[in-house]
């Protein structure tokens, strides 16, 4: 069995790449690259039928599908990535946003990135492993009489490691920094990359500063383009420091450590699941560790009841939060919402996204109880409003707020901003290049415009196709792209499309059952 290497590499740390050499102008400016021009530039070229750019969860799930359902051998697939293992970034973001390995993530029992069938579910696996019926009972009673069952982070990561070994992920991984992709004269694509220092591509005798992969189909899943830093936060950091005002998706352990040493006040901004996790960490430090931290929680939109235009479109809410079990309403992943959005175009689709949009967090009994304690004792209070200005004053962060009643100033020792992972796709080098040179365009929500099979519109190249999945394809015919199950649905669409194009095998009922049995027995493929 192949062991995927370097899983001990710290989560989230990409290797340092040398300065990338300049590209010859003939290649830099050309929308299509001819083989002779690439060879003339002295760039070594390697071939693979399918290349996935990204190497995170999107690449892993797509490649898993291609290996299992499509029956494509590892020799025909290459994953170009600057991270060592696919869940490295995910694990980092989960960790800093306060989900320990034993913590439960916001994902359904059957959303298994390591298993095409979602069966056995995480709940069933946990029940068997721990010899307890509790997880199954929870699934049985959810969501009416129990919180949604959600798996522990550690179990999810371990299961992905097992699957990565099973499909021999490491045999397909090329450690590098992808600079750009271009269509090839005659069909297919080039992906240009700078190899990771000291890691030759395909055992090249002489390490080259630039290497190209030539492929027929290319898949691009770079994840979120970046963190969302609101202007007030950026302004504060330019004027003062990076210490007192932090984004929840950055490592901000120093805030909790400082609050353990002396009493303080924290301003938390945001109403999503990350805000809930940060609040839970602060409250646990108080209840279990004795840190007498006071919390001021700022909501831009304060939700104080069920909300929605009519009785058939009403979401629960209270105490500022809008409640929803998962990132999207459950019917996004297969029910009527998925079916409806698939048929919508342009403005109608954008409107549907708006209807289901908004920041939400799950209603969990434990969290509710802790917040209620805080409200009652007075150490947790909420405020509706937006920040007009952030400044330092006598070692305190002072936030000038615009609130419904006028203006208000809040003094705190720290501010934790939980406003999310978002960024313009053009901030990502490869995506920007696709928009400028690859024929790609934006969808009604500003991300990459893909069709129902996740083919990047306008970017076809001869008999080759470019596919984009994950957060970059948000706004398309399927809304839940940036979730485990969403990535699996996208992967299924991609692989089914490739099967229709004769590039891989179609997964029918018999072979599906046979592949599932291999998964159950852990057989390497």
């Amino acid at each position: 069995m192949t062991i995927v290497s370097d899983r001990s590499a710290p989560a989230g740390q990409a290797p340092a790449y040398r300065d990338t050499p300049a590209l010859p102008a003939a290649l830099e400016q050309a929308d299509l690259w001819a083989d002779a021009v690439v060879a003339g530039a002295g760039i070594p070229v390697h071939d693979a039928a399918f290349v996935s750019v990204g190497g995170g969860m999107g690449s892993f799930i797509t490649v898993d599908y291609l290996r299992v359902a499509g029956g494509v051998p590892t020799s025909e697939i290459r994953v170009l990535s600057n991270i060592t293992y696919p869940w490295q970034t995910y694990q980092y973001l989960a960790g800093v946003s306060q989900i320990p390995r034993t913590g439960r993530i916001r994902s359904d029992s059957s959303s298994r990135p390591d298993n095409l069938w979602g069966f056995p579910s995480y709940a069933l696996q946990e029940a068997v492993r721990d010899a307890t019926l509790k997880p199954l009972l929870q699934v049985f009673l959810e969501p009416v009489f129990a919180d949604y069952y959600t798996p522990r982070l550690g179990m999810v990561l371990d299961s992905m490691a097992r699957e990565a070994n099973r499909i021999r992920y490491d045999d397909m991984l090329v450690r590098c920094e992808v600079l750009l992709t271009r269509r090839r004269v005659g069909g297919g694509y080039y992906a240009l990359l700078a190899p990771a220092p000291g890691v030759p591509v395909n055992s090249d005798a002489v390490p080259a500063p630039l290497v190209a992969f030539r492929c027929r189909d290319i898949h691009i899943a770079p994840g979120y383009a970046g963190l969302k830093f609101l202007p007030d936060l950026q302004d504060f950091r330019q004027r003062y420091n990076f210490h007192h005002v932090v984004n929840a998706y950055e490592d901000h352990e120093h805030v909790y450590e400082a609050l353990r040493l002396r009493p303080g006040t924290v301003l938390v901004r945001g109403a999503g699941v990350v805000a809930s996790q940060v609040l839970e960490r602060l409250i646990r430090d108080r209840l279990d560790g004795g840190s007498p931290t006071r919390i001021v929680h700022l909501f831009r939109t304060f939700v104080d009841g069920s909300h929605g235009p009519h009785a058939w479109s009403r979401r629960r809410g209270r105490h500022g939060f809008a409640y929803q079990g998962f990132n999207y309403p459950k019917s996004v992943w297969g029910g009527q919402l998925k079916s409806r959005v698939r048929r919508l175009e342009n403005a109608d689709r954008a409107r549907a996204y708006e209807e289901i949009g908004g920041t939400t967090t799950p209603w969990r009994r434990g969290w509710q109880s802790h917040l209620a304690q805080g409200r009652e004792a007075g150490w947790y209070r909420t405020q509706s409003g937006t920040i007009e200005e952030l400044r330092m004053e006598d070692s305190a962060v002072v936030a000038r707020l615009q609130v419904p009643e006028g203006e208000l100033e809040v003094r705190a020792d720290y501010m934790i901003d939980c406003t999310g992972l978002e960024g313009d796709v053009a901030e990502h080098r490869v995506l920007r290049d696709l928009l400028e040179h690859g024929g790609a365009r934006r969808n009604p929500l500003g991300r990459m415009d893909v069709d129902r099979s996740f083919q990047l519109r306008g970017a076809a190249s001869g008999d080759g196709r470019a596919y984009v999945t994950g957060a970059a394809s948000y706004g398309g015919y399927f809304p839940g792209v940036d979730t485990f199950l969403g990535l699996q649905i996208s992967a299924q669409e991609v692989v089914d499309d490739m099967a229709r194009r004769g590039r891989c095998r179609h997964l029918g009922p018999l072979r599906s059952t046979a592949e599932w049995l291999k998964w159950v027995s852990g057989r390497t493929i």
Binding site: P143, W312, Q324, S331, G335, S339, D496, S512
Partner: protein, 145 residues
């Protein structure tokens, strides 16, 4: 699986036909009922068909009720508990002798054992094993075709 209306109906018909049919074939000889085996099979399959046919109406009602749920989902628990109203309706139809294919009286115990065993196995199949051969089923709202 989060259903669409078409998916609900297709899943019900498919699972009752394949899984329900197999369970019926297995349990009918064991039911506490008198009469020749052929007549018993005729009765149990008549009940099975009625669950499928009446069920299309039930699915319309469930789909309507589901519209009040933000998630537009149908929790696992609901899928099991609906055996109560559905079982009572089929039972009422059966004892009034208006069920096509039924020729004699239907013993309560035999009906209950058959109905509940079919329901339980179909419910269990829909909550996991169905996804093994039909890997696209759950993403298509339960559509088999």
């Amino acid at each position: 699986m989060v259903p669409t209306l078409l998916g609900r109906v297709q899943t019900r018909l498919f699972l009752l036909l394949v899984v329900g049919g197999a369970v019926t074939a297995a349990v009918t000889p064991l039911l506490p009922a008198a009469g020749p085996l052929g007549a018993r099979y005729q009765a149990t399959y008549a009940v099975l068909v009625s669950v499928a046919v009446l069920g299309v109406g039930w699915e319309l009602l469930y789909q309507l009720l589901m519209q009040w749920r933000w998630e537009k989902d149908w929790p696992t628990l609901f899928g099991l508990l609906t055996l109560v109203p559905e079982g009572l309706l089929v039972w009422a139809v059966a004892v009034r002798r208006v069920l096509p294919g039924l020729v004699g009286p239907v013993p309560t115990a035999a009906f209950a054992v058959h109905f509940v065993s079919v329901w339980l196995v179909v419910w269990l199949a829909a909550n996991g094993p169905m996804r093994v051969p039909f890997v696209r089923w759950r993403f298509r709202g339960g559509r088999v075709l």
